[in-house]
């Protein structure tokens, strides 16, 4: 698994960054590009890691990186407005100040996946934390075996990152399928849950690393379908979400059974979470 990156010297003190661009991706979903006032103060981020973003006077929330890890000066975050802080973030206009702490956490196992087939299963907004991993997979295509990307979302209007999906779908060296839960008849793409696409794809389950991110119910079904296809629990990685405060393993706010999601995750091999995921509340 990717080693945690070094956090800034005082991990609790936010740096100030400015919004340089705001883009509307889907209903209630916006992508912000941020530029720190002191770029040298930040450690490089790895795919799957997150920042704590503060809207001054409102609050602080964990948000994953969704941009290209090659471009470390552009901090890209894709946010869905679900409450006070996420809502305030999506309303920030270019020039606005944001507090920023990070990067935090353990990201996607990019090194472990080298030489293997990689199956990426994303649901809804779960495509955002996976996008840096996808940029890396395609930028270093020769290091990996087959690449399969399966993305499910609610409706055609909710599809994120259309430009990238279309470009990746056009490649001859990857299998990319998008499906929606329901659509008007004018939509000619797939309709159905994303997990039903897994048995239709070609990969070698004994030599596969699967990266899964989405709502927990969807992840549980995706795990079942991947394991039915023969992928081992150790080779299935999930990105977990829990409420956070400190993000550095001090406060215990994000505890999930025996693990702290902020420090030990958010990306975990399923083998480590087995038994916990099925429980309704922890």
């Amino acid at each position: 698994m990717a080693a945690p990156e070094t956090a800034p010297l005082d991990p609790m003190a936010p740096l100030v960054a400015r919004v340089t661009r705001r883009h509307h991706d889907a209903p209630e979903v916006f992508t912000l590009e941020l530029e720190p006032e002191d770029p040298g103060a930040l450690a490089p981020f790895a795919p799957g890691q997150f920042n704590m973003l503060t809207v001054f006077g409102v609050g602080e929330v964990p948000i994953s990186f969704s941009g290209d890890p090659v471009d470390q000066n552009r901090l890209v975050h894709t946010i869905r407005a679900v409450g006070p802080v996420s809502g305030a973030l999506t309303e920030l206009e270019p020039g606005a100040a944001v507090g920023l702490r990070g990067p935090f956490g353990v990201g996607w196992p990019m090194a472990e996946a080298e030489g293997k087939d990689v199956v990426v299963v994303a649901g809804g907004l779960g495509l955002a934390p996976l996008r840096p991993a996808l940029y890396r997979l395609f930028a270093e295509r020769e290091r990996y075996g087959k690449i399969v990307l399966l993305y499910g979302t609610r409706s055609p209007d909710d599809i994120l990152f259309r430009r990238e999906l279309e470009a990746w779908r056009g490649r001859l060296d990857a299998e990319v399928e998008v499906t929606v839960d329901h659509a008007m008849a004018a939509w000619h793409g797939n309709v159905g849950v994303v997990t039903t696409l897994i048995p239709r794809c070609s990969f070698d389950p004994a030599q596969t690393v699967a990266l899964v991110c989405g709502p927990e119910v969807m992840m549980r079904f995706a795990i079942a379908a991947l394991m039915d296809a023969g992928v081992a629990a150790d080779d299935i990685y999930l990105s977990m979400e829990r409420n956070m405060k400190c993000a550095v393993g001090f406060c215990g706010h994000c505890q999930f059974g025996p693990v702290f999601v902020c420090r030990d995750g958010p990306v975990f091999p399923y083998a480590r979470l087995r038994g916990l995921l099925a429980l309704k509340e922890l």
Partner: protein
């Protein structure tokens, strides 16, 4: 007939079917083709055929007044279209439209039901293939109903 037997035997839905059962199925089957935009069947029509898709994708649609046609599922190569032929009153409950050119094996429902009644071993063998499809669609429908990608997920 030999060509059709080969196609049926090679189709993933009929994988490992014995030669005898394959002959019985083929006695009710024919190759069919639909162009993009054609309807395989319409809601309310008698469910007198089932389709095993060899190539192309089919959209299952429902129309609701004021909402137009909604697609609730698409199926493709290796999958089947239609399970209403199994259970009375043998009537389709949705429209099935070809999204692209479809090549399929069409099986006469009355013919295959009669053969299954006459030979319960054949009936059991075919049920073992259809029931997982029904269960998988039930699970999928549950997930769709949960609206897992909504903001409260």
């Amino acid at each position: 007939m030999e060509g059709l037997e080969r196609i049926v035997k090679e189709h993933v839905f009929f994988a490992d079917l014995t030669d005898d059962f394959c002959k019985l199925v083929c006695g009710c089957a024919k190759n069919v083709r639909f162009e993009a935009g054609d309807y395989l069947f319409r809601e309310g029509d008698p469910a007198d055929q089932l389709y095993v898709i060899r190539e192309g994708r089919v959209a299952m649609e429902l129309s609701a007044p004021g909402h137009g046609s909604m697609t609730f599922q698409t199926v493709g190569e290796g999958e089947i279209v239609g399970i209403s032929w199994l259970i009375p009153p043998y009537r389709w409950t949705y429209d099935a439209k070809a999204l692209e050119r479809i090549r399929a094996i069409s099986i006469d429902a009355t013919c295959i039901r009669r053969k299954c009644e006459d030979d319960h071993d054949l009936g059991y063998e075919l049920m073992k293939r259809f029931v997982p499809v029904i269960i998988e669609r039930l699970h999928a429908t549950r997930l769709q109903m949960l609206d897992v990608y909504g903001t409260k997920s």
